[in-house]
Symmetry: C2
Subunit: 293 residues, 2 copies
Amino acid sequence: MPLLGQDLSGALSRRVAILGPGLIGGSLALALSRSGQPWRVSVWARREEAALEAAALLPHCRVSRDLPTVLAGCDIAVLCMSPQAIQHCGEDLKKHLPAAATLTDAGSVKANIVDALESTFGGRFIGAHPMAGSEQSGIRAARADLFEGATCILTPTARSEARPLQNTRELWMATGCQLREMSPPDHDRAIARVSHLPHAAASCLVHAAIARDPSLSDLAGPGYRDSTRVAGGPEGMWTEILFDNRHEVVEGIHDLQNTLETLKLALEQGDRQGVEAILADARKLRSKHPITK
Amino acid sequence: MPLLGQDLSGALSRRVAILGPGLIGGSLALALSRSGQPWRVSVWARREEAALEAAALLPHCRVSRDLPTVLAGCDIAVLCMSPQAIQHCGEDLKKHLPAAATLTDAGSVKANIVDALESTFGGRFIGAHPMAGSEQSGIRAARADLFEGATCILTPTARSEARPLQNTRELWMATGCQLREMSPPDHDRAIARVSHLPHAAASCLVHAAIARDPSLSDLAGPGYRDSTRVAGGPEGMWTEILFDNRHEVVEGIHDLQNTLETLKLALEQGDRQGVEAILADARKLRSKHPITK
């Protein structure tokens, strides 16, 4: 049955199980616990410390380290762990996820995850990727409005069933996200360019900017700060993400190297028109589709 | 005589002439016109349209297109045009700048400018570079608090005279800047890494991220937005800046290409430790010297 809408079962609330109370899982729990929302939220944490922190920071949620307890009776479960953990949790999860429950996730790379979880759960797994976050990590950075106005990409496939897809749409819309839908490979190709490559570039830029003299950052202004902000993200998770989307990321780095080479040659050869064209095209490309969130 | 402090001349105000009412010149005029400030501000604009706009937006300043009128009787003049215009304005300026006036500027590259203006004005020119700005340009983006908490680098040399240096310090401190002092070549080397290279990288990243499919930016989140923000800056001015500091910028691009190559190879070779080390070092380097402004 659908989670929202013509639900004739008499249930007045929707039960969601959130696995992994980090920045994304914690923010999702906060967003769905806001007053007026019909959700009852249960949260699973693997580590005791994480469970205690989640319990303290998510007073309206039931927090437990016992997976069967958290999953019992849920309508929809959301995997908010790292991409690798999401990809490999299928067997454990299958024992305890109610047979009618929808399963979705928040992983940043989709093809590997959708392949793995569709093979275990079939059409009731619907991949999702909310395009929100920050360079911070962990539940202490979580915010109820993290998803407001952000894009959430859903990646249904030919195997996806209609009701789980609709349930997943309703869940992410309840957080304030705008929905987009595309195939898992299309998602990975696009996100390599607008998320994974910018992260790789920001990290390399920090090295090139200040590695030889870290005190240079004392001189840095808002340009350096913003250009390198994402490089403050947790390296363990980002290593996983870059490897999970390795083929696309490598191609993106290759393109970035080529554009840098063109710019460098134009500077060396005194080609002012060439330099200005690169900067002008970038300004126009960027301003054509302004990013509001 | 010093502009502030033990001034026994009886003058109750300081006269500053600002040449070029763009983002920086306009913000400087607003900052120095705030109530409680002892400055009387005159503004020179080359184009009629710019003069009319400045007159409308800077009600407490005298605005004119006539250079002798603006410079007459000033204690200090501040060159806020593009780096090329600053570098080549010496002869015109010399005819009208009062003999006792201090001269300073706000250009982003210092060695060329200091060479050119010291050869015309000797030790009463003091190079300055307030590390503030935005991807926006023009006086409509000007803000009285643009410089609050920002670093302003002064680049005195062996030729600099004591009073003009002190006058320049007092001027920029009055805007809310924190002062740093270093030689012009040291400035250019440092700023290549924390400002010019990030700009070049952001522009190239826009190309690599979305040139083949600009609609991808519809999917972009805050990471892409911040990583590429500075690429929205005016290409004419930035082409000048990159050329004025060409040697240092080319070296920076070379280092960035090398780090990208190391990261790409580690991804291709499945070297997770290598990838994680690059990301971890970047995170640590960046967090060691957090940027508050």
